[in-house]
């Protein structure tokens, strides 16, 4: 009886492993696992310290629409300064973010909510991340996919084969996709349009690049 139970447990665990590994691969369904062509991936979209990255931001959260201006700048080797303002220019949120540090310079009372801050922190850490360590690589006719692991999270970086640009990042746990980040870029240097789509909460952030010098 004991033996049977053990066998049942082993089978269940094996099944669970198969199921979970299958769901892991859902993100890259139809892709082939291939040999690594590099062990790291550099993202250049927010990496130029001389550039002011300014975007019109439209946020949909649980059916409510918010809009404003999103500003990011690399202020040293590890850190970005990020500011959200209204169209009038009033600052709503001002923070500094790196891989390990997060410091709020100012925040309006209405946005000072723990959950919101932690969501924005993980979103913008993903968006502004420059360097990924690649663990696995997948391939199909259209894209190359680089898998990078950060703690419990898997980040899948989709790179178009036709123009060699990073156009999507899927952030998932072993079982579920949490965030999809869609990027439309220009020459792989900066992102013209970014959509951050959440799946565990009803949140969508759309950023459209702004030409900030008129005439």
């Amino acid at each position: 009886m004991q033996k049977l139970t053990n066998q049942y447990l082993v089978n269940s665990l094996f099944l669970l492993l198969i199921v979970s590994s299958c769901s892991t691969l859902n993100v890259v369904k139809g892709y082939n696992l291939v040999a690594l062509e590099k062990d790291s991936f550099e993202v250049s979209y927010f990496s130029n310290p001389e550039m002011d990255y300014v975007y019109k931001a439209n946020i949909t959260v649980y059916g409510n629409e918010l809009s404003g201006i999103f500003i990011a700048k690399k202020i040293n080797d590890t850190t970005h300064r990020v500011v959200f303002t209204t169209e009038f220019g009033n600052k709503l949120l001002d923070f500094e973010i790196s891989e390990t540090e997060f410091k709020i310079n100012s925040i309006v009372e209405e946005l000072n909510r723990k959950m919101l801050i932690s969501t924005l922190k993980s979103d913008f850490r993903l968006l502004l991340h420059n360097h990924y360590v690649v663990k696995e690589q997948y391939d199909n006719n259209v894209n190359k996919v680089f898998l990078s692991k950060e703690g419990k999270m898997n980040n899948y970086l989709f790179v178009s084969k036709s123009d060699n640009t990073l156009n999507k990042i899927v952030c998932s746990t072993k079982r579920k996709e949490k965030i999809n980040l869609f990027i439309t870029s220009e020459n792989n240097i900066f992102a013209k349009k970014i959509i951050i789509q959440h799946y565990n909460i009803k949140l969508r952030i759309e950023l459209n690049y702004l030409q900030t010098k008129l005439n």
Binding site: D52, N58, I71, R81, F88, G89, N90, Q211
Partner: protein, 211 residues
């Protein structure tokens, strides 16, 4: 060579005093006259339309963020800011409501119960017409230079102060109308709005404000 170096040094030392000297505090008498003129001018403003350019200055950025558009004001408190470049966005302030048109997406916020929005609304409308000399709400100081008069407003309300540290209105000396609004969030970060091509008391179709 040495003389030239001294000259340059002298110029650097004196320059801050020159620019400081350009902005002088107004006398009590001048303030009384100025406030009276502004009140008279703003009383005559039934409608106002103007182009504007907005410069958002954040100290850590390499250049200001520019946007521009048109502003319409109908006394006493109908106001529309319409950004045309680099994005299309319009915001209407009308009897306790804010109506927003963001690239065709329309929404409305009822600010009737929100004291802070009400105050910001009143402040923006007031700043455009120039009539916001409320000593209960602000600590006001007055300055002048060759071409302009500058009024600086520090909010007394602690809540409002969190959003806006100081407002500076620059008035054209000739016609005593506002030509620049500067909203300071801190000493380093501010929004500067320059008003140009002002037209006073032309007919404005009020249906614009109900869109």
């Amino acid at each position: 060579m040495k003389i030239r170096v001294y000259f340059v040094l002298l110029l650097f030392c004196v320059y801050p005093f020159i620019s400081f000297a350009q902005e002088q505090k107004m006398s009590e008498n001048e303030i009384v006259i100025f406030k009276q003129v502004v009140k008279e001018v703003s009383k005559k403003i039934k409608t106002l339309s103007t182009d504007f350019t907005q410069y958002k200055h954040l100290d850590f950025l390499s250049k200001d963020i520019e946007s521009s558009g048109k502003m319409l004001f109908v006394a006493p408190s109908l106001l529309q800011w319409q950004y045309k470049k680099p994005y299309s966005y319009s915001i209407i302030f009308k009897s306790g409501k804010i109506m927003i048109d963001d690239e065709g997406k329309k929404s409305a916020i009822d600010v009737g119960n929100s004291k802070i929005f009400g105050k910001i609304n009143k402040l923006i409308a007031g700043s455009v017409s120039g009539d916001m000399f409320d000593d209960k709400e602000f600590t006001i100081s007055y300055f002048k230079n060759k071409t302009n008069t500058i009024a600086k407003f520090i909010p007394k309300d602690a809540n409002l102060k969190k959003y806006i540290k100081q407002i500076e209105l620059t008035f054209d000396k000739e016609d005593t109308t506002v030509i620049q609004v500067k909203l300071l969030e801190s000493s380093e970060d501010y929004t500067r709005i320059v008003l140009k091509n002002k037209v006073l008391n032309a007919k404005i179709d009020e249906s614009i404000f109900s869109k």
